[in-house]
Symmetry: C2
DNA sequence: CGGCACTTGTGACAAGTGTCATATCAATCG
DNA sequence: CGATTGATATGACACTTGTCACAAGTGCCG
């Protein structure tokens, strides 16, 4: 089984490579530090790759974006997501993007090789801990505008600055944030942003 | 060289173990998922450990706390910090705690083994990228109260709630936050909390 | 002792925020 | 066509936050 490993932290990338290469039936044939690098590699060598293992949070092009791209251009290559954070929103978006595997870095190292074998055999692999928590928590109730406004508020921008960035009036921004605060049952915009981030919604 | 590896994410822990065990002169003799587990192991087998490699952010007892404890109880065992985030405050605190090595997970995997050999030989190893950024950025200008108030503000608590938690009047809390905002040249409490977090100050 | 720094608190004011009712406009649907 | 819907905007109001000046209390140093 020939792998493309995509992970932005060099040390973790190298360590995972060493771990996976210990398995007789698994070979890491290429590594990439983000989605764009992976994309460039695939453009040349897509035929040599059986499975892609990718982190979600990465600079340039993240794991979700890479997955969408792979599904579109190389629909036969399965993508396994590997992430630090057990956020229901991530799982949702990864599955929507066509990922067939979803593992937490909290899971035991052995599970990664097992998951890859399952995926290569055509099965889907979802981290059970996360699947349970995803079932238990509600879906993302936010609209795109609300999400974007929250994200900017989280960075410390005030209503005026958010309005400028989003090409909206201050009043409209306040309406969006007020909606988001109420939907998330938060006390204020900071609280709302924190809650949304925790769920993986922003 | 016998290592104790402390890292909370199981998959990363397993992968680092595999990576390090590939080196002829390095042997991971024990792993721990947080500082408390490491402490318990050391209580039994401290004599068998030459170097400790530990993550900084961990539940229960973090890398800084573990380092302080090791320096106190087993002053001859060197501690190497390994962290995801290039924050000057972390480096500062790690060095204050007596760490003799400080590496980023962003660094190439080979550097870890090299660093361990340097440390075993009595040298200190500081990630150069981080050392530069630490020199470039100012020290933490916040008082304890300001730090604590910022941390609570970051969680979405309002002035009244922060006051309750800290046993202070609302006015005093506002004074602290106002001071912090001005010291960090932020626009508001959210911005200030974000800046402080980025530097590793809260 | 007097002076000094530090912590905590108050009051006042301006600016920003949260909520709500409502208006406008374009797009959509029956 | 009229009705409905969604996105955007406005204005009003109460509340929260940011800033500042200042005061009272504590502990410390010379």
């Amino acid at each position: 089984m020939n792998l493309l490993l995509v992970e932005d932290q060099a040390m973790v990338r190298g360590a995972l490579e060493a771990l996976l290469n210990l398995e007789d039936d698994i070979q890491v044939v290429a590594c990439a530090s983000n989605g764009l690098v992976a994309k460039a590699y695939l453009a040349e060598h897509a035929g040599t790759i059986d499975v892609i293992v990718t982190d979600i949070q990465m600079p340039e092009l993240d794991g979700i974006g890479l997955c969408l791209l792979v599904k579109q251009q190389y629909p036969d290559i399965p993508v396994v997501m590997l992430t630090t954070f057990a956020r229901a929103g991530y799982l949702q978006r990864a599955l929507d993007a066509g990922a067939v595997g979803f593992l937490l870095k909290d899971a035991p190292a052995e599970r990664l090789a097992m998951a890859l074998r399952d995926v290569a055999a055509g099965r889907k692999v979802i981290d059970s801990e996360l699947a349970l928590s995803a079932l238990g928590s509600r879906q993302d109730p936010l609209t795109d505008k609300e999400r974007q406004a929250l994200k900017l508020a989280q960075q410390g921008l005030n209503t005026a600055a958010i309005g400028k960035k989003m090409c909206l009036s201050q009043g409209t921004v306040r309406n969006y944030l007020s909606e988001a605060i109420s939907k998330l049952q938060a006390n204020n915009r900071i609280d709302a942003a924190r809650i949304a981030a925790e769920k993986g919604w922003i």
